[in-house]
Symmetry: D2
């Protein structure tokens, strides 16, 4: 069995190998009558695109998207939307000499064990290039979410031990796309950039942490038991190649908290402005007198697997890019002997900045799916 689909109602199926003809995605379950253009999708792809700065891979891909079905006269038809991005700047030559070598930290070995063969060029299906399809699908999801006034913000909060200061939502909106690291604390961003350049110079790479915030999601999204909203977010985010951890709200900090500290107390919004609370800035913009809200948001906007209407907050641990030019010991799976390997090819020394749009896409896919899972009123 194999499954390359995500979502139950807004269902995306992706395909494509890194050095194959193209990468693509079929979005099935998009409602009819939504205005949609290639430009909108292209905008998100451009955010993910390689080659934008000194700290990303030099692979140059225009990553131009084509919509092949599912729209007519600029509107969605309710039928599957097929999108395709050609692979153009493909150079498979660095992969031929090491085609049988299990690159440390990569999927070569595990794919070989599962399938018995693989497309070794550029990592094949296991390449991060696969995320082109996620971002394209996510752009449609974001389009739908925007109709419902739901917005997703991603930003880098830590790289190689350098932590960003907590800044407000305004700064995140303002600063993230202003710097190559996608960090909202501009001072930290500069240090992160230096750090990335430093490890790059060493032929090494570095990891970090990305935070995702969904604003405007209504209360009531999610499901009991297995399909909790946080469970699906965890799956969605952990399915991004480099992610080794996911946390919701205060996350791992909860382990050291007491119930009386962790629990978010409820209150009713009154005409008087709410007292200052630590997450006040994360509140929904649309808050209204008479609504029930929580004073704090340690839960990250989800209780019992169902959204509370507060900001949904997740953080992901991103591992350092495994492709490094430093020599490493490994095994040639063909010759069955140990070898030394130095990875050539073009790689990001820190994948965090480019994971931001990918992770946002995954959060968007989850939220759209849950929006649509909620039964229509009257049924």
């Amino acid at each position: 069995m194999s499954n390359n689909s995500f979502g139950k109602i807004f269902k995306v199926t992706t395909w494509g190998e890194s050095h194959g003809e193209a990468i693509g995605v079929v979005v099935d379950g998009c409602p009819a009558g939504i205005e949609l253009s290639e430009a909108e999708i292209q905008h998100e792809l451009d955010r993910r695109k390689p080659g934008l700065s000194e700290i990303t891979t030099e692979r140059k891909e225009a990553d131009e998207v084509k919509i092949l079905s599912g729209t007519f006269k600029g509107e969605t038809l309710g039928t599957p939307i097929s999108m395709l991005v050609r692979n153009k700047d493909v150079d498979s030559s660095p992969y031929e000499p090491i085609k049988n070598v299990a690159r440390p930290g990569q999927a070569d070995f595990s794919y070989q064990m599962k399938y018995g063969l693989r497309d070794y060029r550029g990592g094949g299906r296991a390449s991060a290039r696969e995320t082109v399809a996620r971002v394209a699908a996510g752009a449609i999801a974001k389009r739908i979410l925007s109709i419902h006034n739901i917005q997703i913000l991603g930003h880098v909060v830590e790289v190689g031990g350098i932590r960003a200061k907590e800044v407000g939502l305004e700064k995140i909106r303002e600063n993230v796309e202003k710097n190559v690291v996608r960090c909202a604390d501009l001072e930290a961003a500069r240090r992160m950039e230096d750090k990335i350049k430093e490890v790059k110079a060493e032929g090494d790479s570095v990891g970090g942490i990305v935070e995702l915030i969904a604003l405007g999601a209504p209360a009531g999204l999610g499901e009991p038991v297995f399909d909790k909203l946080d469970a699906e977010l965890a799956k969605a985010l952990m399915s991004i190649g480099a992610v080794k951890g996911v946390e919701i709200g205060v996350g791992f900090k909860t382990a050291r908290m007491k119930g009386s500290e962790m629990n978010d107390e409820f209150y009713i919004i009154t005409a008087e402005p709410a007292e200052n609370t630590e997450v006040q800035e994360n509140y929904l913009s649309g808050e209204q007198e008479g609504e029930i809200r929580t004073k704090t948001n340690n839960a990250g906007g989800i209780l019992g697997g169902i959204s509370t209407g507060e900001a949904i907050i997740c953080r992901i641990a991103v591992k350092p890019t495994p492709s490094i030019s430093k020599p490493q010991r490994s095994v040639d799976m063909g010759l069955m002997q140990e070898v030394e390997i130095k990875i050539k090819g073009r790689h990001d020394p820190c994948i965090c900045p480019r994971i931001v749009p990918v992770a946002e896409a995954m959060v968007a896919l989850v939220l759209v799916d849950y929006l649509m899972r909620n039964a229509p009123p009257g049924i």
Copy 2:
């Protein structure tokens, strides 16, 4: 839409409210011809059962399981296995007075927003009592895994800031069921127990961290892209009510590592014993000369979403039980006014020890499903 099922091939569907007639599960997709008895399932339920020690809830439930279908003469038929556990020690009286109050940290508010009504007795469907069904299904999964020499070990590694020392697999096997905290470091276990009693006396609760280790899983389990093995594990574990974070292998530590530190180098097992490596004890018992292995296991046994044959390692952040007797501010959703609430009823001051068998069950369900997803040879 609603979905109370988990798994694609080995598919479990659970049902039941905390104070309803019963809790149950249908396991669909269990292979035929497997010996299975109620005693085996009961054994796992007994590990989860409340009332076993001073630090768990006083609700007394025999949690006696009945198999209603899917077996014949002690063997599975390949047809759905329906299991049922009656709710017996049900006392709904503490819930009547607060039936409209949104208990902080609980699902009352979000359920009310989603469904418009709820069974408020004992948390209804949102109660941790729901995990009875997971453990029953997981017991069957473990039975199948044991045929394949796959074993799952869970243990508590942190409670209220107290961390267990790293001990070997042997100690984990030996010590976990020996103490009420299910911590393999017996000295830390004692301090954790004291801590739990202390917060209990305060009318409060405390969180912690649980680690899960799967030994013996073959290389090649998992899938590219969305259904990565770690993604599904993250979903499975995050779907447990109290979990706020999941990490695989080194997890969040990866954010501060370089590629050259994070990458696990490959080598070939030779007749000579391998040099000591940090995760040596986590190696498969069945390691054989000529096999490809990794020297370290920072990846937690999964690369590119597919198992490598090394131990699969996950950790979960468990929040403090939200039901505390300390006074909290909240809202009566019926009267729409703010109130003070002190939770009565019987609750675990720290849910970590009882989450161990539940989390093991979830890991087992994921692994069995992926074992069965792998196509038969020849197809």
Copy 3:
């Protein structure tokens, strides 16, 4: 893999063997806030129940249903509804002597080949007793459909070569439950009954045809391509054990028709009453001036896999009950030798009358699922 579930949104999972403890079903995806009582489900089960007349099996089963979860104070919670019917009048003795014999026309041989073992008592999972669960789930589906003014009528139109005359909807509503054959043409019903008694006396059985009519389904239910409404109905109906054929609208007659005969012309309802057309009586009760309708309904209410708002009409071919007391040649799969077999036990000489509520349940399950698949307005 095994799958005992039906439906994508309103999803039912059934379990149970004929001579096991019980038969049951979990209904997942039922909306919250629907009034539901055991009495309502019992009513449908009573229509299916054996032992109601001389022409059905003598197995006496009260078939008393228990709801174990998913409702509270008489309303659905939106959580899984688990229902259970105990098997009481179980007599496995006739099955012991023939436990290894592949009964002709039964699933013994194919189950044995698939699973390698089976519960041979009363057909095990392959028994028509399994349909208890379908009818219980279907009763909930009918409950929801009734809120939407959708009604499903089933009636026997042919038995052993005896065809019922076409009668109007009024007669179907009036007559079907008045006679043991469930045929709306009372004169034909009498002859069918005689026929059934005649074959029963011979130790034989006889087949027939059942028609299903769904009234009041709105236009727009269904999906393009694979999940066409008629495709799902075909699956649902063909999944009933004894069914060997399914047709929609004019069905197989279409093979001899021209396009100009087959096509249903569209018109607009005016204040003037529509001219008489052959299916006029099958029209929606709620027809309104200005609506677009078809003059005829050869299509059976479905075009391009999507409902048109006309009556949905299906017919199923029901095979004669394979359990007959006439001697038959077969094979003992244990001894691997040919044998003669006379089936004892208690069997319906014609299953058509009791298939009526089962087939209605399946149509109801399909329609509810498609009602709920349609996205809420605004998404």
Copy 4:
């Protein structure tokens, strides 16, 4: 919700509108290591291709397939196989004047009711052109089946009231591709061809019946209850646009049979040749001494929803093409007034011959999926 996927393990997702850029399909779940070339898929597409004879539409489409992913060096990778066929001979001009008219027998009205808008050019997603994707996917399924010695034969057995004589398997293999009607009885084929030309000259169309035979499928494919093999075949075949009925084995004839006639008796193959039986020629080629078989095959190779190892036999009722140039009454949905319509464009006067490869593809998709659903030995 929308679903354009078919299959649980060998899962195909199709996309594309008749006059859009392209038609395509993603095949997810194809095992790794299977030799596969575009030529093989092209061969099946060529059988379906329009413009092959006087009795098919004049739309000229090379229908050239491109594989965009999932293969490497001529072998499947186990990753999704994306295939694309460009729409080239597109002439949307006949559709502009009637863009708001609900063509009788077509999906215009029901799509409009479901989606509120549609691509009216050439029927959009509802066009039979969608079956290009089914045939491409089916070609891969057939490739896998051939490895397992499973073969699927389709042939036209009735057109416009003209029935083919029953001929043996040899004649079917030999004659079907020899005549434009794809009828194995060459004499009937000539009369059918004349009939089709006759109705075409009248500006009309005609229906028929197609039979599908699957040879070599092992016993044990299928599942109890809802996912019976015959249920899934019924869905697969009924999902083809023009199909109004599906029957298995003797099908509707069963309604007039007694149990003693319908039941297929079992026997054991001995060294002595089996006596002549009516379906002898449909037997598996691989029959071996000691195997259990049935003397007749009224069941069409399926008992209790699971294959018996006999030939699997289905027949489908195909409606006359709804696009006819004869004047018809209908409704302009924009102006909301009744109109007369004469369909222009290029249409098959009888779709039966071209449905043969499509229906074969659907049977192949079902069988491959069930082959792969069967758990690997040892699990």
